[in-house]
């Protein structure tokens, strides 16, 4: 009888073998993403009930080998050895079986229960490969071999059935590769030295002996820390030196060569390649995409397409969301009574979070584009095409991938620098990644460009900002490379995976995982920052004003009443307007006409043909009224004019008061304090506050501006912000451009800084990054603003 128990299954395989697809197929949405203890490589865990077993699947990082060359390799090795999963499933790309088997052989040597999953076997066999599963299993010490097609979910049940069987039998694999007399002799000499360690380490003596002879830094370090460890290491070192001489090359390389020879034998034995067609469809696609002539144009065209998808297509649904939030704040304005709660909700929460959520469509599309580039295999080609250029500036072709991710999110991109094994390359890439305009900076650009630049040049302005970031990153990388980070760069030895049609599901999961990160940020950090900023901009609320606004408002009202009674009521011998029905009706008509005109022309420029046409229509209607009843019309028109003037006067006073309250709030005080520093850049204290709050997350710059400017004139949505920015006397296209430049460059957001700390293990690099970027931002913005003024812009 079978009992129910949890079976831990580790998924291992080369990058691009389809591991993640199989993981997602089996676990569905139920997964947990975390980090491996002590290191920052992502750990994905998922659960699945299948027949009588509860499976816990662990998706290990993709790796080519189990030597200690990269973090991924060490993580994979340590997980298998220390966490002792019940079953290890090695997922191989069948089209690429020979190289994939190199890892399989190393897994076999670790001695844990292993299953080989021949993934994408359909593609492999369609190119003419014939695989004999039984012979393959025989060559691999009798482990089960299962055929799977991840994208079509084929073989998943068999895989789980096999895993259940293997885990219940708990049969250890006995696989021994013969490394030839010289190495075997050395192993025999080393093994007895290690018997005393057996209790402290989980490795077999043979495996440990091989690793020590192979000069595996990670293992040497662990053994060195054990009692007697140092003596063992020095003994092994001597044996290795002798062995090196005998072999005529490094032991580790000899071992690798022997492994590949063995793998080659298994491959020849189990696979019939006689019908293999040498040119695949992928090769044909590649011939065009990385062509000497077309490669670069195609690359730039693709990047341009990504841009337009994100920004042009994305702006359509963004407008709908914007309108939705405008309606929401109108509704809240209407149903909640005046007071701090209303102010908090309308100005703080809806104003702040709303102006961030508006950009979700752009962000979804950006992550969609990145996911497609990754899943098709084009990302690796991008590195291939760009390496020559990147290297000139001290970067690596692979740095291109994190830099491109930087357009999505700096924090994600900094995690993406893990693909760079060389620490120098990695740190430089991390330091320049924030110069890529991340998606959170996009809202800032969109608002400012929308407010100050013509639609025809909006795209060019945006492109110039992105381009400036790219150029700066190159210059900065080059400076870092030739000063603090001299030395050898990482090799560019990497696989160019075959082109694949991305599956909807995997693209969607990729996009979703990253977008939810942004949403979570909007829900937590940004909400908190919005409320904090609302508080800082609203309090202290009992300030001493330079004028008594209440008295001034009352005076304006009084003057208005007097004018109305002198010029209209007195002459018509009535006490109030309603006593003359004709007059009241006419006033109503004119006011409705005005209101309609204001509504219709809301989004029109004052000299646009539509505006002129509507204005003419309005004048014609008024003349019609005047000819019908000239006397009543002139009184009515005068009344409407006076009322409007009164409203305007009161509005101006209200704005002045709000402006003064803001100036005297905590935020205003702080903004004023830093104003002298940022004044040469064309920024006033309000921009100062927004920039400071923007360190929590870049999009907060806009939500803060939303809060600050909305308190001034009662608008909360970004449309409202656009209008108030436009009418602000301090703002002009040059200041707007300078602000975009500053936001592009200055300190990374808290999330990015936190990730950088985690990835480098100290606060040193986040602090370096914050200080150098803010200084650079000041210098570049100063040049842009002062240069622009000299050239006569900015008035």
């Amino acid at each position: 009888m079978m009992t129910k128990k949890e079976v831990t299954v580790a998924l291992v395989g080369n990058p691009n073998a389809g591991k993640t697809t199989i993981f997602n197929n089996i676990t569905g949405g139920r997964q947990h993403v975390g980090n491996y203890p002590g290191v920052t490589v992502e750990k994905k865990e998922g659960f699945k009930k299948f027949k009588n077993n509860d499976f816990c699947l662990v998706d290990l990082p993709g790796t080519y080998s189990l030597t200690a060359y990269s973090l991924e390799e060490i993580v994979t090795r340590n997980f298998i050895v220390n966490d002792k999963p019940d079953v290890v499933i090695d997922i191989v790309d069948t089209s690429n079986l020979e190289r994939n088997l190199y890892l399989t052989v190393q897994l076999l040597e670790l001695g844990h229960p292993l299953i080989l999953a021949l993934n994408m076997v359909d593609v492999a066999e369609s190119t003419g490969l014939k695989i004999n599963d039984a012979k393959l299993a025989e060559g691999l010490g009798g482990i089960p071999v299962v055929r799977t097609v991840g994208v079509r979910k084929e073989g998943m049940d068999i895989l789980l059935d096999t895993a259940a069987k293997v885990s219940s039998s708990q049969q250890a694999v006995s696989f021994k590769l013969d490394y030839g007399a010289d190495v075997e002799g050395a192993i025999t000499t080393v093994e007895p030295l290690l018997t005393s360690l057996h209790k402290q380490v989980n490795f077999s003596e043979r495996w440990l002996a091989l690793r020590l002879l192979g000069n595996d830094a990670n293992i040497i370090e662990s053994v060195g820390r054990l009692p007697n460890g140092e003596q063992i290491i020095s003994a092994v070192n001597e044996i290795r030196l002798v062995l090196n001489d005998k072999l005529g090359e490094d032991v580790e390389l000899f071992i690798a060569g022997q492994r590949y020879k063995h793998v080659g034998k298994i491959y020849q034995y189990a696979v019939n390649t006689s019908k293999l067609s040498s040119i695949t469809i992928s090769d044909k696609i590649d011939k065009l995409l990385t062509n000497r002539m077309f490669g670069l144009p195609v690359f730039f065209a693709l990047m341009w397409m990504v841009f337009n998808l994100v920004f042009t297509v994305g702006s359509i649904p963004a407008d709908w969301i914007d309108e939705g939030f405008a309606l929401l704040s109108q509704y809240l304005d209407a149903v909640i009574g005046d007071g701090p709660l209303k102010s908090l909700l309308v100005d703080g929460v809806v104003g702040g979070v709303g102006s961030v959520l508006v950009f979700i469509p752009n962000i979804l599309l950006l992550f969609l584009a990145i996911a497609i580039l990754e899943d098709t295999g084009y990302m690796a080609r991008a590195a291939f095409i760009m390496d020559r250029i990147m290297r000139r500036f001290g970067l690596h072709g692979k740095s291109f991938i994190p830099l491109l991710l930087g357009f999505g999110c700096s924090a994600t991109a900094i995690m993406g620098t893990r693909t760079l094994e060389n620490p120098r390359d990695r740190i430089i890439t991390m330091l320049v990644t924030p110069l890529m305009s991340c998606s959170a900076k996009l809202p800032v650009y969109t608002i400012l460009i929308g407010a100050f630049f013509d639609e025809q040049i909006a795209g060019n302005v945006l492109f110039s900002i992105y381009f400036l970031g790219i150029i700066l990153s190159m210059i900065v990388a080059w400076i870092f490379r030739s000063t603090f980070f001299q030395g050898e760069s990482e090799p560019f030895v990497m696989e160019l995976p075959p082109y694949r049609m991305p599956t909807f599901k995997s693209v969607f999961i990729h996009m979703w995982e990253r977008s939810t990160l942004y949403l979570k940020k909007a829900g937590t950090i940004i909400l908190a920052a919005s409320i904090l900023m609302w508080f800082l901009t609203t309090y202290p609320n009992e300030v001493e004003y330079s004028k008594d606004y209440d008295v001034l408002t009352a005076q304006a009202e009084e003057a208005y009443t007097q004018q109305v009674s002198e010029e209209i009521l007195y002459k018509l011998e009535i006490e109030n307007i309603d006593q003359n029905e004709e007059l009241a009706a006419m006033i109503d008509t004119i006011q409705q006409e005005e209101a309609k005109f204001t509504e219709d022309t809301k989004e029109l420029a004052e000299n646009s043909p539509e505006y002129v046409k509507l204005e003419e229509e309005k004048t014609a209607n008024n003349q019609q009224l005047a000819t019908e009843d000239g006397a009543t019309y002139s009184y009515a028109a005068r009344y409407v004019e006076l009322t409007q003037k009164n409203e305007d006067a009161k509005e101006t006073l209200k704005n002045e008061q709000a402006g003064e309250a803001l100036e005297k709030s905590y935020a205003g005080q702080f903004g004023k304090a830093i104003e002298p520093v940022i004044a040469p850049l064309g920024f006033d204290w309000r921009i100062g506050i927004s920039l400071v709050s923007g360190v929590t997350a870049k999009e907060v710059v806009i939500s803060t501006m939303g809060t600050i400017y909305s308190i001034g004139d009662g608008n909360e949505n970004s449309q409202g912000l656009t209008k108030s920015l436009r009418s602000d006397e301090h703002m002009n296209p040059l200041v707007a451009y300078a602000l975009m430049v500053f936001v592009l460059i200055y300190s990374p957001c808290l999330a990015a800084l936190a990730v950088m700390r985690r990835e480098t293990g100290s606060w040193k690099w986040p602090i370096v990054s914050m200080v150098y970027l803010t200084t650079l931002a000041w210098i570049v913005t100063f040049i842009v603003y002062q240069g622009g003024r000299l050239l006569g812009f900015g008035s």
């Binding site: 690429n96 690798a256 291939f384 090799p491």
Partner: protein, 76 residues
């Protein structure tokens, strides 16, 4: 006089004789399957002339010319 991989033109094939040079890069090259006796075919050079793409054991591998110089080849 033996040739190195970077001397080959697109379409040319060779057999790996030996991998020389720096141990870190060398190990990476070997891990990716470039070991003695393996057939290697040059596919192309990147649009800017470097790195290059080769086909080995049925997959495509890219490496810089400086790295390809470490791979001694006998032309087929």
């Amino acid at each position: 006089m033996s040739k190195v991989l970077s001397d080959l033109s697109p379409g040319e094939k060779g057999v790996v004789k030996k991998v020389t040079g720096n141990s870190l890069i060398k190990r990476r090259i070997v891990d990716m399957g470039v070991v003695g006796g393996t057939v290697i075919e040059v596919r192309k050079f990147a649009p800017l002339g470097d790195p290059m793409e080769v086909k080995i054991k049925g997959f495509n591998l890219s490496l810089r010319k400086t790295e390809a110089e470490m791979i001694e080849i006998e032309i087929l």
